[in-house]
Symmetry: C2
Subunit: 302 residues, 2 copies
């Protein structure tokens, strides 16, 4: 279940409330897109900005609109008891898996992060994805800590933050993780610019931001790798260079994907929760030009 | 009001609930200690780990137990609407001022942080302290942004994260901020190892972590600076070098201050909220030896 393309939809806001209609629309498109799973309430889904109640509601909406596609739900929070409450909410919503980050305010030690994962996996029947996102959490997992946590019976997958640019180094990096984790635990790449490289280097899954709104390109790249057409996968990823460049230039993949969804009318204007603000007119124009040049389309709604 | 020693008490937990009795005790000691103000729900007070409801309750307890001492309340949160709700809770509790950080998950732009402060100051009558804490929020204020925000009529003070070690550089740094902010806005130093140096360099206030549990040394240092006994202030701060060293070695001032309060029996064991864990027996022994060697005492309860 923790292989292939896992699509991370936005959680769009409108007047500081979750825009349930727009969110359901995003999930319904993913349900018929061919993605292998949907991960609601990832960083793209603004999980840390919402209350426990809002997040339980979003988890429920995701499951209700995902058809037969498995839904994973992000349960990261600063306090362990909040994480446990979020896990219960996701379970009750019918989630198939949980995505757990190591959110920090005071920095955490490896032992504290291990104990968090131990506590959570012991409290739920659902499989847990280790969510390594140092850019937002400022916690840095080591391969040694991956190994310790992956030994916990409830762990199903590790979402790693990209791979080295050099293909041989990327392969060695993925192999070095694989060597220390149980066979049941998959490795998923994130950082969309690294998606193709990660799959080619041996990752089992691609946890994708852009794929949560525009699933086509990620599905094409994943198919090419699966069929052994490595050069096709590389070429398809390279065609998306203007997108990867905007991710780097305009504040990251979540902000750019939100602007794309806004431009395409899939969500309302300025759909991220304040204090995050929509883009300037100039940057919106850059996003729009890129969308048109690459022909990015969301695919049909079920 | 935003001058002198502002003491930041811990918010102690017990079984994942705020230990209201222990918190009230900490505040009651501060109420008769001679500190100029009490700031509840700073980083030392674990503000980001609590719900809006818990924080409103802690704000109320702080005001109820502070006697005639002014209470400032931390209202930082990831989402603007949560910050506004926390500001209302602090107002209703009877706070005299608000402390607002630039918490991040997705990184924020200077414009977004400015708009956050604009929105909050326009929604409250209470004066607001700009809380610059890059170590935990990962947002880096510039002097230019201090200047923009300090122009907002509701801003009363800026809490800066330490000063340069060299006294002349420290003086120039504080003067460079002073030069661009209105006269009504005070500058307060934080990072306790920099307290003496900050006051000597011209800061109006010391926002102190250790002073929220053991106010004596901070009060002595502040008095020495006020009376022009700069060398005495430096010497008193240098005597505390073993404390500053533990702050650096054992995970920061909040964790060490929690361990001190635990050792002195002011709070229960492991008083920080999980996933933050209490110290190892070995590190507790280091803390205890330091407390005894320096003769740290909390002072009497009112």
């Amino acid at each position: 279940m923790f292989t292939g393309v896992s699509a991370f939809p936005l959680t769009p806001f409108r007047n500081d409330q979750v825009d349930e209609k727009a969110f359901a629309g995003l999930v319904r498109r993913l349900a018929v897109s061919g993605v292998d799973s949907i991960t609601a309430l990832g960083s793209t889904g603004s999980y840390p900005y919402m209350t426990t109640q809002e997040r339980a509601r979003v988890a429920r909406l995701a499951v209700q609109n995902a058809g037969s596609v498995a839904v994973f739900v992000g349960i990261g929070a600063l306090r362990t008891s909040q994480v446990l409450a979020l896990a219960r909410g996701a379970e009750e919503a019918g989630a198939s898996g949980l995505l757990l980050s190591a959110m920090t305010y005071q920095s955490l030690t490896p032992d504290e992060v291990f104990e968090l994962f131990r506590t959570v996996t012991e409290s739920t029947e659902l499989p847990v994805i280790v969510y390594d996102n140092p850019g937002t959490t400022h916690f840095h997992f080591t391969t040694e800590l991956y190994a310790r946590i992956a030994e916990l019976p409830g762990i199903a997958s590790i979402k790693i933050p990209g791979v080295p640019a050099d293909p041989d180094e990327a392969r060695r990096h993925v192999a070095s993780i694989r060597a220390v984790i149980p066979e049941r635990v998959t490795i998923g790449v994130s950082g969309d610019a690294f998606g193709a490289a990660g799959l080619i280097a041996g990752c089992d899954a691609w946890y994708t931001v852009i794929g949560g709104t525009i699933p086509g390109p990620a599905l094409g790249i994943a198919r090419a790798v699966r069929e052994g057409r490595v050069e096709d996968a590389r070429a398809e990823s390279e065609q998306l260079t203007p997108l990867w460049k905007l991710f780097a230039d305009l504040g990251g993949s979540a902000r750019v994907t939100a602007a794309i969804a806004e431009y395409l009318g899939l969500v309302g204007p300025s759909c991220l929760p304040l204090p995050l603000r929509g883009m300037s007119a100039e940057n919106r124009a850059r996003v729009a030009a890129m969308v048109e040049a690459l022909g990015l389309q969301p695919g049909p709604e079920a």
